[in-house]
Assembly symmetry: C2
Homo-oligomer: 111 residues x 2
DNA sequence: TCTTATACTTTGTATTACTAAGTATATTAT
DNA sequence: ATAATATACTTAGTAATACAAAGTATAAGA
């Protein structure tokens, strides 16, 4: 029952969180999943099947670009995702939307 | 572009907000729309076509019950929606989910 | 050798906010 | 009287996304 609401409430915010994590530096998929888990203190536990479609969508929208890493030794090849200028701009906008909505929720829930 | 994110971010929270507004007293559709608008300071501007499907869903889930008002004078008949005990319990649970998710978002966005 | 972690891809499902169109009555302004 | 607006509820259809699940493949450790 609660999972239903949890899933719905996450809609829209994951794009924002992924862009935020990429803002400091380019990262690869597994790294994003780990940071999301650690920084949110276990609240955002993404499956890879959830993250990659988000990254592909962000790439289609030109908010991120991806590059395969040079083969360094025997390292499994990694695809690094880097935020674009447009991505940074969009991140700021999405953050404003989030602030406005969470403020609105607070006003109703606490009023 | 932003409308897309705004719409997604509202998913899940509208049920919570409607239940919250019904917690203090039974209300009819138009009244809910007005209170949502006022209390959220223009953030949640629901169309009737958005609200009623939510109310029907809540009713299907037995979180609210509806009663048509007695015909008082020439008043247009109104359908009052009242939160159930199960609805109150679910509201508390959804609120916990919301708090956990918004805390998680904050941790990532501010850290 | 087996398990686990790393790493990316694709397909399909369930859910929900919103638009739009429809029906109908009461009140207010012209 | 008439027109416009506010009130009040219903239904059908669209777009978007979190997630599960299944698949492919390599590296490291027990």
């Amino acid at each position: 029952m609660n999972e239903k609401y949890e899933r719905q409430m996450k809609k829209g915010v994951l794009d924002m969180l992924v862009l935020k994590l990429l803002k400091s530096e380019a990262k690869y998929g597994y790294q994003i999943i780990q940071e999301m888990k650690e920084k949110s203190e276990e609240t955002f536990l993404l499956k890879d099947g959830t993250l990659y479609p988000i990254l592909y969508r962000l790439e289609d929208d030109k908010l991120v670009v991806s590059k395969w890493s040079e083969a360094v030794g025997k390292q499994v090849p990694r695809k690094y995702y880097e935020i674009t200028e447009e991505g940074k701009k969009t991140l700021d906008e999405i953050e404003d939307v989030w602030k406005r909505i969470s403020d609105g929720v607070l006003r109703i829930m606490e009023g």
